[in-house]
Symmetry: C2
Subunit: 236 residues, 2 copies
DNA sequence: GAATTCAAATACAAACATGTATTCGAAACA
DNA sequence: TGTTTCGAATACATGTTTGTATTTGAATTC
């Protein structure tokens, strides 16, 4: 019952069809986890929102938690790829962190980030922009917060979550090393600890951007982030 | 059917009895919200855990959300009081942030915080200690994270939540002013923005201390927090 | 094109949740 | 002490969620 652009019926292979089902279930689940929360979202909710029956769910995922992990895996790859690209190629001006689901479900505000002042190295500027972009996308930030809480409740899930977190920490740590190498500055704390501090700062500022809770507008948030980063990064 | 320490029957007044019921419902709800999450906790859960029937719930609270607000109000007062005491009297060495529920439900680790090095002003040291104490108490931190997420979903709840958040921000801002006055340093950013940055940092580090997610042990976390605070607070 | 396979739908049997309407019994009060 | 009050229990009617067991029909295979 599917049609291509020329309105010819398109027959999907079993594999394609199942992949489609999985993606649609994941998309629906993502939207609902954000809107209602993981705990308040039932399997039934998800399948109905995706346009399937409950049977489809159970023949694709072991459980709601299992689906959540796959959802996060999908997004984790997107985030890591984005960070990695800037790390590898710090002079590229802007990386569209587009994501099909995000674009579909919320109107992702993809305006270029407000210009932070210019006397900062490209890698810093980009990192700040990237961070503030990530966290301005409350859809995904909410999802990861939800995940964090669920991790504190489910040991297996926690293992997975920590692996994701560790990947990000490792990448940010790389940034710190690269920064130190470029500037020749001595690090006042081990790189990993500095990285953790930066992440904490970013995650914290991210929380203040959840819908309805704007204690600082985007510009201020970015300014604060930038200032802190600058101060910490300076040589003692 | 209640007995005092000498095993005499104690008759409670209506008011006392109802207050007791409310507190027990609040305590039970708190434990469940932390353990299962707000969304996954049913009214029935709460009442059974508290040892009452569902009727007791509805004759004491309008809804689960309403109860949550009262729960947070209770804890908010505790936190504010703690912060305020340090602010008013910065030389008092230690403030027991004891809380009946916390003590009952989890074994709150109330060891004195690890000594941060000594060449720091008392108010800074205390703030760091207080912060790291708050956030080491994952019970309450979890509760507030849960609240934050719920606030992003429920507009009325959000209003309440923002008021709480604003109170804290105002208090931390007071700290910043006090610090500036004491040291005579010029603030590089408006006090409120600095305060927001500090809070973000603290909240971020707090997240990394949720059960199972220790990316840094207590000592490291405190060290990072202290270092960042120190760097930011220095005059440009 | 008939037989086979398997993703998804349907059927089913519990269990669990919701909110209100009513009853019960201990306190408040005369 | 008898009556009133009202906080909490119970009953009820209704809806939701669960996971599995079974069926169905389109894609695959021969």
């Amino acid at each position: 019952m599917f049609y291509d652009v020329f309105m010819k019926k398109v027959r999907l292979t079993r594999q394609q069809s199942q992949a489609q089902t999985q993606q649609r279930l994941l998309d629906a689940a993502q939207a609902l986890f954000v809107k209602k929360g993981f705990g308040a979202t039932s399997v039934e909710h998800i399948t109905l929102a995706a346009g399937y029956s409950r049977g489809a769910f159970y023949s694709n995922f072991k459980s709601k938690t299992q689906l959540f992990i796959e959802l996060l895996t999908r997004d984790h790859q997107r985030i890591l790829a984005g960070l990695q690209t800037i790390l590898d190629n710090p002079d590229t001006p802007d990386h569209p962190v587009s994501h099909r689901v995000a674009a579909e479900l919320v109107g992702t505000h993809d305006q270029p980030a407000l210009a932070v002042d210019g006397n900062r190295s490209p890698i810093e500027t980009q990192l700040i922009h990237y961070y503030s972009r990530i966290y301005r996308d409350t859809q995904f930030y909410t999802l990861w917060l939800e995940a964090r809480l669920h991790a504190s409740r489910d040991a297996n899930f926690c293992t997975q979550f920590n692996a994701f977190q560790q990947d990000i920490l490792a990448t940010i740590t790389q940034y710190v090393y690269k920064f130190a190498a470029r500037t020749g500055l001595t690090l006042p704390l081990p790189a990993e600890q500095l990285a953790l501090g930066f992440m904490a700062l970013g995650d914290g500022m991210g929380m203040y951007h959840l819908p309805g809770q704007s204690h600082a507008d985007d510009h201020h948030a970015e300014q604060i982030l930038a200032y802190f980063l600058e101060r910490i990064a300076l040589q003692r």
